[in-house]
């Protein structure tokens, strides 16, 4: 099962553009990332620039409205994520618990929806399956 560990650093919602984590925190985190990698569970990871460098596209009016960050209404924002492949939610939680996080940080653990979990009609809508069945494509010799 794939899980995302979403890092939510409190205070990051107001962080100035270009804010970077300090060297000590990065060093501790690198060690943790290495442990994930050695265990064969790490699929991907990234850190995100603060919202003050981002934008929000909202659809309240039915049309996209773009607003540059920061976003005063946001209480929690993402600072980064890990994607891991583990056997259970408990294992994902155990990995999250081992993160050398600071007191202001929260990790939200969320399971990735796999295609095979979707009901058949959703799978069909998502895959264009019917058209492919109707006109099976054979490779052509060239």
């Amino acid at each position: 099962m794939r899980f995302m560990m979403l890092m939510i650093p409190r205070g990051y919602e107001d962080a100035a553009p270009g804010t970077m984590p300090d060297a000590d925190a990065v060093a501790a985190m690198m060690k943790y990332n290495e442990a994930l990698q050695k265990a064969g569970v790490l699929l991907a990871l990234d850190g995100l620039h603060p919202p003050s460098m981002g934008a929000r596209v909202s659809f309240a009016t039915g049309k996209p409205t773009v607003r540059d960050g920061p976003f005063p209404e946001a209480k929690e924002v993402l600072g980064g994520y890990w994607m891991i492949d583990v056997k259970s939610k408990a294992e994902a939680v155990e990995w999250a618990s081992r993160c050398p996080a600071s007191k202001n940080e929260i990790i939200e653990v969320r399971q990735v929806q796999e295609f095979s979990e979707f009901p058949a009609d959703v799978q069909e809508a998502a895959s264009g399956f019917k058209e492919m069945q109707a006109a099976p494509r054979r490779g052509t010799a060239s």
Partner: protein, 424 residues
């Protein structure tokens, strides 16, 4: 934390730590069977203590220290019984062992070597392939006997027996607990990679099945492959195998329709391929090639899979390159199945007549006599050459040979299509 939550957490800790603990203890007791028992004892101790005390800050170090303490007790006990003089020196090592166990950072590097020893031991050629598979999943994958049994569709006692016998065989053969070196390394590594690929293929063949345990074997194999790639970073074939598994697994979401029916590679919706996984596979392949491993059997198969993965549409597929890679694979590891695949690549690159010529040369091959893909491929070539009557006969024969019901349905549909075209 409630009792059941604690048990779930202990279970998760066990998944993460068990291989390391077995590996570390095995170096002390020089017997993977005994090491596993001692690790299990440590788990039982955790199950007794942790619900009351809470989970310790470093649960892995706690389990390791507990297991090693029991190992020392056991060795002392045996020494008292046997009064073996030479074990005194060994015990001094053990005392040192205990000293470093308290510094969990210090054991980090040793653990890598121990894990590697455990992998090579569990995959030792003295064991049959199925014994190696069961033992590897048990000792390194952290799977229970019941989980392995479900994954391989055999009764649990069969797997339990297999594991017991495998441990006994290793002990009786006095297999040393070491990482093979020199000339020994290549064949021993081959034995390890074979096990991982067997596990992967068992899961891959079952994708879309009702029981999630079987497809999850792919994840187990991939996880072990990634662990091995970290432990043996200079071995090109390890990266080649990881690349091959990543790229194949990237197609999981596209390989079956909503009803579970198989969808052939060229008909898959490529938007449903896992492109992040493809990137990991291509990166592993690049690593293998950078280490000079481009011509290893796993790297070659990965390179073939990569040709498909890089093509955004089936028409973009570089078939001449795939045919050339199959030529290299056929020269390196000749087999009728590789020849059959080479025929498909040649047909795609240079036309069905070229493919048919090679396939026809395989018709007398005894090992393919009951292999459904031979008539299936031959039927496809004949179909494309417009020889529909012959094509239908081949599809029908292929349908009668396959044991997979959904595949049979697909082949019967293709046979029927030959009829339709005839009539039209």
């Amino acid at each position: 934390m409630t009792a059941s939550a604690t048990h779930r957490a202990i279970d998760a800790v066990w998944r993460i730590e068990s291989a390391k603990i077995i590996a570390g203890v095995a170096r002390m007791v020089r017997d993977v069977g005994v090491a596993e028992e001692l690790a299990q004892d440590a788990l039982v101790a955790a199950l007794e203590h942790w619900p009351a005390t809470g989970i310790p800050d470093n649960p892995g170090a706690w389990l390791m220290a507990t297991a090693k303490r029991r190992a020392i007790d056991r060795l002392r006990h045996r020494k008292l019984l046997e009064r073996k003089h030479e074990e005194l020196g060994h015990e001094m090592e053990l005392a040192q062992e205990m000293a470093v166990t308290d510094f969990d950072t210090a054991i980090d590097d040793d653990i890598g070597d121990d894990l590697l020893r455990l992998i090579f031991t569990a995959c030792h050629p003295v064991l049959s392939a199925e014994a190696r598979v069961a033992l590897t999943l048990r000792l390194l994958g952290g799977l229970t006997t019941d989980e392995i049994a479900r994954a391989f569709l055999v009764p649990e006692p069969t797997i339990a027996q297999r594991i017991v016998r495998a441990k006994r065989t290793l002990a009786e053969a006095r297999v040393p607990y070491v990482v093979p070196r020199g000339d020994e390394l290549a064949p021993r590594l081959g034995s390890v990679l074979e096990v991982l690929y067997l596990v992967f293929n068992e899961g891959y063949a079952a994708t879309g099945g009702g029981d999630w345990m079987r497809p999850s074997l792919c994840d187990d194999a991939l996880r072990l492959g990634r662990v091995l790639a970290e432990l043996a970073p200079d071995e090109p074939e390890v990266h080649g195998l990881v690349a091959l598994m990543e790229i194949h697994a990237s197609r999981t979401g596209a390989r079956a329709g909503p009803g579970g029916e198989p969808i052939l590679l060229l008909e898959q919706n490529r938007a449903r391929w896992n492109h992040l996984q493809i990137q990991r596979g291509l990166a592993a392949l690049a690593r293998s090639e950078a280490l000079g491993g481009a011509l290893g059997p796993y790297a070659l198969q990965a390179a073939i899979a990569a040709c498909h993965a890089r093509a955004h549409t089936p028409e973009e597929t570089d078939w001449p390159r795939i045919a050339a890679l199959y030529d290299a694979l056929a020269a390196l590891a000749p087999s009728p199945v590789v020849e059959l695949n080479r025929a498909v690549a040649l047909a795609m690159a240079f036309g069905p007549a070229v493919g048919l010529e090679l396939v026809d040369s395989l018709l007398e091959e005894p090992s393919l006599a009951r292999y459904h893909l031979l008539p299936s491929v031959r039927g496809d070539f004949l179909f494309r050459l417009g020889r529909l009557g012959e094509a239908r006969a081949e599809f029908e024969r292929a349908a009668s040979l396959t044991r997979n019901e959904r595949e049979r349905a697909l082949l019967q549909t293709r046979a029927g299509r030959c009829g339709d075209v005839d009539a039209g």
